[in-house]
Amino acid sequence: MEVYDKKLTSRLFLGTAQYPSPAVLQAAIRASDTDLVTVSLRREAANGSGAGFWDLLRETGVRILPNTAGCHSARDAITTAQMAREVFGTDWIKLEVIGHADTLQPDVFGLVEAARVLSAEGFKVFPYTTEDLVVGERLLEAGCTVLMPWGAPIGSGRGLANPEGLRAMRAHFPEVPLVVDAGIGRPSDAAAAMELGMDAVLLNTAVAKAGDPALMARAMALAVDAGHKACLADPMERRDMAVPSTPVMGLADLNLAEKT
């Protein structure tokens, strides 16, 4: 897939938080075959730095998508994005403006505002949004060329809370890369998102908090690939009536047993 004129070979984006150790994170990145990982820039990193951690991430050779996780206002997110550009040397930014501390639901008003400012400053903005179509339109007007609707609240692992909303979004924005971000708990959730025609899936907790993160990363990669291929293959429609799936090869002679 292509976003902001860059080709990405994997449709799975991986978050880098909450792993037992950077070594386990590196193993998960390798097992997932991802080429894009998100990194949160906490404010401490600007004073001191998380240099040791970034170095370990860079070793993996993947592209880094800094995020503004934990920002609760447009202003805060804009500042964090500007700091992230300095620290990571990239103008890609996953824009999160959190509106609600408990559900971590995006504040879509602050999101559109921050997206407009950052796009004008040359940032390539990946907005974490809801499945709301009007908000999606506003984000595109603000300069985004990719949308990242949530599957369910961040870290909840609940899967796709509103698949119909995502389906509508796909239909409404046929040409815009759509990435389901947040809420994926299991590979079946990731596959379901891809079957809906999403372009990619971004997840973190489901892999980081699995008993074997690298194995789960692999499972997610396979599921994303399976869902994507299934979507391309044009799946059958669901129906209520059974249709026999065994070919009919002649008719059984029920008297045969008695004859012999």
Binding site: S21, P22, N47, G48, G52
Partner: protein, 321 residues
């Protein structure tokens, strides 16, 4: 004579292991007071190998299991176990924690209340790791330093180490390229109204915390994990999370006095396990991460083994030359 740079937890533990084997040791410590500059100053002091297994490799158990007796020779070790609880809405966290760990038994509300009356009626599900223990880190550092001196070891405080030492235990000051620091923020509360006798862990999907009794109505509350080498004071967010968790354990903590807040930098390697590394004639012990008191005994004994082998080899070479 074996020279050691750094009289923090790692340096003192190595000195003790060597001195007990009859080896003359000399420690050089930049700061003027034992523990003043040490990451261990901010530690919880939990000897909790089975709980730590939740997010660490199997080595925390295999290396950590000898810590109890090792420390008990030096400083009081409180073998009261660890009680792990979660608020009702985060009950799934208890199940997850249980799947990743072992050597515990499930406890219901009644038993939680019997173990720690201060928690009675507040939690209806938990895990009790009976074999775990805790100690007071600052006291343990002092006791360990005294034990080293009693065994004839020499500790030079306020003194830079010479260029070449046999053992380097200088934590984040060591020139090891794959070493990084993981910041931890903590607080110490004084709350004599609340009586808790063992380590508590409050599971929470965002901010799991622990509370370790320090005796005399004091409790240590920790600790955040931030990938950063910023050593400044704790942030408001971190303190809010810590305080909120203490309040969730028991609302009586609302009246606690916050007698100290602090932040330390844990030295860690990429796998978050400690390592012994030999470079240019110096043996480095580093990367104790959040398992200092748990893993220092095993690592110090291994460092002592290697130091003595190295010394003996050098002596042999000298003789045959």
């Amino acid at each position: 004579m074996i020279t050691i740079a750094g009289a923090g937890l790692a340096g003192l533990a190595c000195a003790y292991a060597l001195a007990r084997r009859g080896v003359a040791v000399r420690l050089f410590e930049r700061s003027g007071v034992i523990g003043a500059d040490s990451a261990a100053r901010y530690a919880g002091g939990m000897l909790a190998p089975w709980c730590e297994r939740e997010s660490a490799e199997e080595e925390v158990i295999s290396l950590g299991s000898r810590a109890f007796d090792w420390w008990a020779r030096i400083t009081p070790v409180h073998r009261r176990g660890t009680l792990v609880v979660a608020p009702r809405r985060d009950r799934a966290e208890v199940a997850r924690f249980g799947r990743r760990t072992r050597e515990y038994r499930q406890v219901g509300g009644a038993e939680i209340g019997a173990l720690e009356p201060a928690l009675a009626g507040r939690f209806d599900q938990g895990l009790f790791f009976e074999g775990e223990a805790h100690l007071d880190p600052r006291r343990a550092l002092r006791d360990l330093a005294r034990a080293v001196v009693d065994l004839g070891g020499e500790i030079s405080l306020g003194t830079e180490a010479p260029q070449q030492v046999d053992l380097d235990c200088t934590g984040m000051a060591a020139p090891l390229p794959s070493l990084r620091s993981v910041r931890g923020e903590m607080a110490i509360l004084r709350c004599p109204e609340v009586e808790i006798s063992r380590t508590l862990r409050l599971l929470h999907p965002r901010t799991p915390i622990y509370l370790v009794p320090r005796g005399d109505g004091h409790y240590m509350l920790g600790a955040t994990m931030v990938e950063s080498d910023h050593a400044g004071p704790p942030t408001l967010r971190a303190l809010m999370e810590l305080m909120g968790a203490a309040y969730a354990l028991s609302p009586a903590f609302a009246e606690a006095e916050v007698v100290e807040t602090g932040a330390g930098l844990r030295p860690a390697f990429p796998d978050n396990l400690p390592r012994l590394e030999r470079r240019d004639g110096t043996l480095f012990l580093n990367g104790l991460y959040r398992h200092g008191f748990l893993l220092a005994p095993a690592m110090a004994e291994a460092a002592a083994d290697q130091s003595m082998e190295h010394r003996d080899e050098n002596t042999r070479e000298f003789r045959t030359a």
